[in-house]
Assembly symmetry: C2
Homo-oligomer: 444 residues x 2
């Protein structure tokens, strides 16, 4: 071959942390290929927000509302122009509005200075992991299964993940404590635990209030931070338990926020709340947010002021009350989740459920639920399901950083019509029954 | 102290690459502090684009133009809504328009598939460095002084930089070759060289055509890639030499693009052109762009469709001819550069120049020039300059990853009026003369 070519596998810095085995990207690619190959299949795979309530034309109104807000607050026309045109501050332009919204919606009361506006929650994760996992022995803990975004951020930074296996009822703080202790015994320094307390992606579990309090105590006792990510809370329609951050009296929680589910994904605006005091080498005290902003200057410089203006306009329109703004969407998602659960009940009445050993959890909100199946739910099974039964789902094993979840699947309910849910669950039922009757391999 | 606090210096993973000593952020903070402390001083520090030609209201027209373009190309109203609302493809939505513009403006003819749209050029750098510097012995080479964005991306990823000192006339390929050979002799694997061929930031040098050809040959001979970053070309007004990418016949160049200087910074849209074939572990061939997109999924997931729409609308309005679109801005920047050079000539006539040993380069375009001064141009000198003479500049040492530049300063000419340039250079002249007469320290 004439000229440059490059051998692949860029993503494996094998000699740094060979133990980060995560094949998430390859498996996600397989899922995409299956989706493209069987366009007629009903797909429970994508966790897309429903866009039926979105009006493109309103984006202009939202941006204009923010510009008017700037003018009304004494900014000259030149200054308003600069607010859109120039790069703007690294930590973001709309921190006051976000702080205000967090107070109204979430009872989280933090100074605007403790907020960094990010390019979606993904960048917030990356910044937090980069800031906290600084030494060779530092480790980040996650629940397993866990959201692929945090796995990706860790992988990008060659940070080793320690996975704490979730129980069927969700995370056990005793399991987390055991993991912390065994890591310490190995000479490692646990720094943070990443968690999605509400309607988690992928499993759909919600952490009980008592566990939240236990987790905060545990974090304080073991001197770790909690990275709380909770994008589905304000579109769940279910009664909301308090966020970890709102219960946090000892600066133990870095709250990672997203507007992708509540306002719109295309803005790519998220944020981190990091009000932890930080002492630098010169004895000065700042906030963890300042450190995150410094790191951000090396990643994206700043979040698009245009995107921030659109989000700010929406926050202004809702007077900061994002939950209120999402009443209709929440009802919609609650409806699709209920329909899915109802249809599963119908398709798997108790007798059939027992015979097939199928069971599922019953989230009160969010986009996802877990179905436990009596066979190995791997890529081969997914291919058979799509080809022979016209239904697509996500193998739960995709979300386990160190293996596991081989007999579970994730169903996403956020983007399907009632008709597709009904038809899709019927197809899934046929597929499961068929698989259950196949001559079983050594594992199933 | 009750609760969590965090010790600082997150940014130093000291035990990984202690040799990356770069104190850029601290020094930049000093510059910011000086700027805040002396608001009346005339500042040649910020490399901000001039915003006088920007009309906020036109953003709406640009976005609408792109939406109409989608409709005109057969997209349903739902599909147009989704193009704005949803996350969108990781590699970007507007690759065809960018490819078209690169063909018209830059004689760069690449398939849209080889482009990844990024959150500004900063993210493009980060993706390229993460993709290419994969092993423990891999190194990235840069010219010194160099743009802080690449230093930052390398630092974020704990990638060691090898700095090749620029001559006053610019980069010498012989120096680069010597550095490549000495790295190889140390058992390291040089992977890429980052370069700003046109009106470089910070020094303002432009690489002659012969050097461009030599550099391409060198890259091929030594099996490295060239990361070409050239944000000032299309706003320079000067005759343009061909980009490295347009001369690249052997897939040696990854072209990093920015719309921050040509369209508007607040969009935060850049791109990477990476048409290198890549062979993966399964023997499949893809493009380097695909690998960059996979990494991007771990950084920002995708670039805001709203920002992309604004940029796309501007590209459509200009029929892809960004250079043409920037005629007025180019003339403006050319004017401010000429005025600065002219005023320097006046303030330092040949006799004074000789007596003070002051000299400078004469860029034909771009935002920056280098002034060589007869004293140590450090933070203390900057503080004296701001306080006693009311003029601010950037110490060139900020841009040297491994030391150097102690007797040079960077002047940015992009954002000043004629009056400020004239007055500012007079003040700078007074300051330089005063410093030249100070009892000199051991270094100056």
């Amino acid at each position: 071959m004439n000229g440059a070519f490059v051998s692949g596998a860029f993503l494996h810095r094998a000699d740094l942390h060979g133990s980060v085995s995560d094949p998430t990207l390859d498996t996600m690619n397989f899922l995409n290929e299956i989706t493209l190959r069987y366009p007629q299949a009903i797909s429970f795979a994508p966790g897309r927000p429903y866009d039926g309530f979105f009006d493109t034309g309103q984006i202009f109104e939202h941006i204009q509302r923010y510009l008017n807000h700037l003018s009304d607050n004494g900014n000259s026309p030149e200054s308003v122009r600069d607010a859109m045109f120039q790069y703007g501050p690294t930590a973001g332009r709309i921190r006051e509005l976000i702080a205000d919204s967090l107070r109204r919606d979430e009872n989280i009361d933090v100074p605007p200075d403790s907020i960094v506006v990010t390019v979606g929650c993904q960048e917030a994760m990356l910044l937090a992991v980069r800031a906290l996992i600084a030494g060779r022995d530092d480790v980040l803990l996650v629940a397993s299964p866990c959201y692929v975004g945090i796995t990706g951020a860790a992988r990008l930074l060659d940070v080793e993940l320690i996975a704490v296996e979730e129980q069927e009822s969700g995370l056990s703080t005793a399991d987390l404590e055991a993991a912390l202790e065994s890591q310490r015994a190995l000479g490692r320094r646990p720094r943070a635990f990443y968690v999605v307390p509400d309607h988690s992606n992928p499993s759909g579990t919600t952490m009980p209030l008592a566990t939240r309090h236990q987790l905060l105590d545990l974090a304080d006792r073991h001197d770790i931070l909690l990275l709380e990510d909770s994008p589905y809370r304000l579109v769940s329609g279910a009664p909301r338990l308090p966020t970890l951050k709102s219960l946090d009296r000892r600066h133990r929680v870095v709250h990672l926020g997203s507007f992708s589910k509540t306002l719109f994904p295309g803005a790519r605006v998220g944020y981190a709340v990091a009000d932890q005091p930080v002492h630098d080498a010169h004895g000065r005290t700042g906030l963890l947010a300042d450190e995150l902003a410094k790191i951000k200057s090396m990643v994206t410089v700043n979040t698009s002021p245009l995107s921030q203006a659109a989000v700010a306009g929406m926050l202004l329109a809702a007077e900061g009350q994002v939950a209120e703004l999402n009443k209709e969407a929440s009802a919609y998602y609650r409806g699709t989740m209920r329909s899915t659960l109802h249809r599963l009940e119908q398709r798997f009445p108790p007798g059939v459920r027992e015979a097939t050993r199928v069971r599922w959890n019953s989230p009160e909100g969010g986009f996802f639920l877990t179905v436990r199946v009596p066979f190995r739910a791997d890529n081969e099974a997914l291919a058979r399901s799509a080809q022979d039964f016209g239904v697509i789902w996500t193998p739960m094993s995709y979300f386990h950083p160190h293996g596991g979840g081989d007999h579970s699947i994730r169903l996403s309910t956020s983007y399907l019509t009632e008709h597709h849910i009904s038809e899709g669950i019927d197809r899934l039922g046929d597929f499961i029954e068929h698989e259950a009757q196949r001559p079983s391999g050594p594992e199933s």
